[in-house]
């Protein structure tokens, strides 16, 4: 492993100060170490933030918002009784991810910044990858593309953003608090990740030296009738072939408000506002749910062997909405 220096931060200010070029924050390490072993991440300095007690707390009892410190562990948040009851989509998006061992280590902040599972990205040399090695090309373009993105891809990159939690966050209008050299700022979560366009190496809008300290979700009655549905190649411990985070607020049979986001299909967390617009104000039934699914996948561009995931995505949204309806 490439040598690096290790710094233990004792407060957020320290951490940000140490966050120079070539440095990386270390939370649970489940993404960072993995990519270091693959020699894709090669930090010169690692700043361990695991001792920043202030970032470990989370509170789901607030009247205006749910607040999660960036170091809250996936497993603890997933098991939170208030979340399970009032925001099942959020809890489900966490406990359907990875494995219990990984969730015990992994932090919410690190989770948002996990990187793609594209095999050509992870495979390193000899595969061309614009994300790993800008300008080198994209081996996936003519390669095995069963798992590549259908939404938000560009000629230079079709790597899926793989995280599950992000689908729930984007559906519920989450915001993140970011601290950097210039102080603290608030970023709508939906603006954190970028589409690859022709700079797939730039995955987020975080400025150099910025770290995530908090995730906040506004309290909403939509949470109760929500679900996160994940379809994958096995029942557990696998990334999504397609997933959906959806929520409904009903007025009798009529949809008063709706949220639809999809995961596993796009190059970034993907909110499907067109699907929501179709549902709102309409009588809910299976065909409405299906129409929302179709709207969510509108614009999807298939490759050679991933076209089935368009129909799968539509059905995933449909099925998730049917579940949400039962919870309403």
């Amino acid at each position: 492993m490439q040598p690096f220096t290790y710094v233990r931060a004792s407060n957020v200010g320290d951490a940000v100060k140490a966050l120079s070029r070539g440095a990386k924050l270390l939370a649970g390490g489940t993404t960072l170490y993995d990519l270091m072993k693959l020699r894709i991440e090669r930090p010169e300095r690692i700043i361990d933030i695991n001792h920043l007690g202030e970032l470990k707390h989370f509170d789901t009892s607030g009247e205006r918002e749910l607040v999660f410190g960036a170091l809250a562990r996936m497993s603890e948040v997933a098991a939170d009784a208030g979340l399970v009851r009032d925001y099942p989509a959020i809890s489900e998006s966490l406990w359907r991810a990875a494995s219990q061992q990984l969730r015990n280590m992994a932090s919410l902040g690190g989770n948002l910044l996990q990187r793609t599972r594209c095999p050509y990205f992870r495979g390193g040399e000899p595969y061309a990858c614009n994300k790993r090695d800008p300008g080198s090309g994209c081996a996936a373009a003519e390669g095995l593309d069963r798992g590549q993105a259908l939404l938000g891809a560009s000629p230079s990159c079709s790597a899926v953003y793989p995280g599950d939690f992000a689908a729930a966050l984007v559906a519920f209008d989450a915001e993140i608090d970011v601290v950097g050299p210039g102080g603290e700022r608030v970023l709508p979560f939906e603006e954190l990740h970028r589409e690859p366009a022709d700079t797939p190496q730039k995955e987020t809008t975080l400025e150099p030296g910025e770290m995530i300290v908090r995730i906040r979700i506004p309290v909403t009655p939509l949470g109760r009738a929500s679900t996160f549905l994940k379809v994958r190649d096995r029942e557990s411990y696998a990334f999504a072939l397609a997933s959906a985070a959806v929520a409904l607020e009903m007025d009798g049979d009529v949809v008063r408000d709706a949220r639809v986001a999809v995961g596993g299909l796009a190059t970034r967390p993907w909110r499907a506002r067109a699907a929501e617009r179709l549902l709102i104000g309409r009588r809910f039934d299976e065909s409405a749910a299906r129409a929302a699914g179709e709207a969510a996948l509108d614009g999807a561009i298939p490759g050679r062997s991933n076209a089935f995931r368009i129909e799968l995505g539509i059905r995933t949204v449909t099925d998730a909405l049917m579940t949400a309806r039962q919870r309403a």
């Binding site: 599972r117 081996a139 390669g143 696998a238 059905r315």
Partner: protein
Amino acid sequence: MTDVPFPNVPREDARQKVCGAPIFGADSPRPGLLHAALAVSTIPKGRILDIDTLAASATPGVRQVLTHQDLADLQLPGFLLGGYGFQNFQPLRSPDIAYRGQPIAVVVADTFEAATEAAALVRATYAAEAFCPTIDSPGVDIVDQADTPMGQFLTEPVAADADAAFAAAPIKVDIELKCPAQHQNPIELIATVAEWEGDTLIVHEGTQNAEGVRHGLARVLGIPAGQVEVISPFVGGGFGQKNSLQMQTALAAAASRRAGAPVKLVVPRTQLFQGASFRPASRHHVRLGADVSGTLLAAIHETDAQSSRIDFFPGEYAATSARLYGWSAFRGLHRLIRTDTQTPGFMRAPFEHPACFAMETAMDELAYAIGMDPVDLRLANDTILDPITKRPFSSRHAGTCLRRGAERFGWQARSAEPRSMRSADGSFVGWGVALGAYPGMMVSNVVRLTANSDGGVEIAMGAHEMGQGMRSVIAAVAGRKLRISPGAVTVVIGDTRAALQQPTAGSWGSASAALAIEAAADAMWKALAKLTPDGVVEGRSPSEILKAAARDSLDVETMVKPPGQPDDVFGLLRSGLVSRAGPVFDDCVSFSFIAHFVEVHVEPRLRRIRVPRVVSVADCGRVISPRTALSQVRGGVVWGIGAALREASETDPRYGGFLNADLAEYAIPVNADIGRIDVEFIDEPDGLLESGVKSLGEVSLCGVAPAIANAVFHATGRRLRELPIRIEHVM
């Protein structure tokens, strides 16, 4: 033959394993241990023009970086014919590159981290050549197995004129099927700790074949086999990946010799995908002919199976499919496809799982073509005579397996029409059945049996514990034969210092152990009789006899060979080669059988396929160790679920090698994929051995995949002839 079933007792090493006590190969602690890591080829075929090790050598902690320029004196291990290696190609022996991921340098360092880092800094330039990495690659070389050196040993199974019988049959099924390449993925990686004591090389390594590793290594290193000892008391899963000399062992040994210190080399999972043996991909063309009453008239099974450019890894698919039913005409054919990969090998039920998938899918299609129940069709074609040799089976309870399984499963409630059954949640329900078969084989052994006056018994013999419960089997048979508690038996296996080793593979472990122990125990009783004044041993225990004769202990060494084997098998044994006999014996043919009944649910909208229950009834002869036998069958069913619905090693044809080379992307089943697995044993003793045991480990997997595929057809109306069956195939 014994009429009494064996009791259900805990496995011999259960407590040890649960407590983490066993020391596996790579765990072996040694003072001054150095760590090795491999640099691997980034092209799939060609030659190294230049290799730059400067940066690697300059990495702090690195002791040496070895390349083909240093190790050109390594020899080839040989492949199956007179060989020991999983392939007849030793990396680092020359600048030739035969497959992507092939080792090109070994780095030895003070720490694992330094070795790993330095290995990544080795840079090579290559002259690349054209390559064919998959069985579908344009222009790939396909040869008739009969025209290869394997052809003289593996004759195609033939009975009567199958082509004519098929042509004349009123009802025909004619289908093509495909099975992917797969990797075993035992949790214990392939790994070696090599240490020299003077001129003697000591190897600690998880292997199913300590003697083969010893002799293969001696050949590769050019030293006498007597100067190599291989120690492998526990193997953390082998599944055929560890049944011969792997490429890393000689590299660790050579590095250790140069470093003058013990060297540990653990091959990481991703490199293992590119460098260890795997299940070859295969294509099958099956033709079945029958009359309208369901009597099978002809079967033809042709297979194109992946091999490597390096070796002719043979196919023996039809050898098993030919034995499934009592057809009057059969013809098998094998062609080998020579891909630019490492040589494939014997992954659990290497030929039998794909062969049963092909034939048992065809049988289901035939049942629907005739309009006959799939169980009834199978029962109508059961046989007691092997259709190829016309000899009787040593025992065959395939029909009983089917009948008992059908009853236990509730098969009579099945409505034949596809898509006609639904579960409470609206899922389509499919019920499928298939038969599995696997040859019964045995190997010879030289057993050393020691009885002590304190009641203890020690056994040293050739066998390996890979998690299947080998020590339990040996203790159970020895306990019964010697009229002592199995707990009084100490078993030393997997150690060339203690006894000549035979590969534990091909599901012959239990039968070979039983054969050996039965003979050794008889010899012991004979020797004990000589110590008694009246020559009577009945009613006396070995320790009573020893005490009465004032002896502390008695030692007997017994050479045991399977029925019909010539005496020179012991020569094979001594030179580390396999001495397998069966499944065809002088007056019988030995196969184990199993019937699997599977229920699948396919969701109406999302179309996820689930397997909530499986009923498996096995005919493996007498069950010696009920508890570990049950685990074998459950494990086989789990493998079958993986093989049917999940696992495939994927190759990007532009690059070669395997792309999904880790446990996250190569989808073996997880616990949440597995429902209820109900296992029943016929537990009728087979006639070949006194203990009545046949094979079990591999037959348990055979037939699971077609039972699932047949159930998927029943649930969805879709006939899927390529594995794995994934969500996109049933949407």
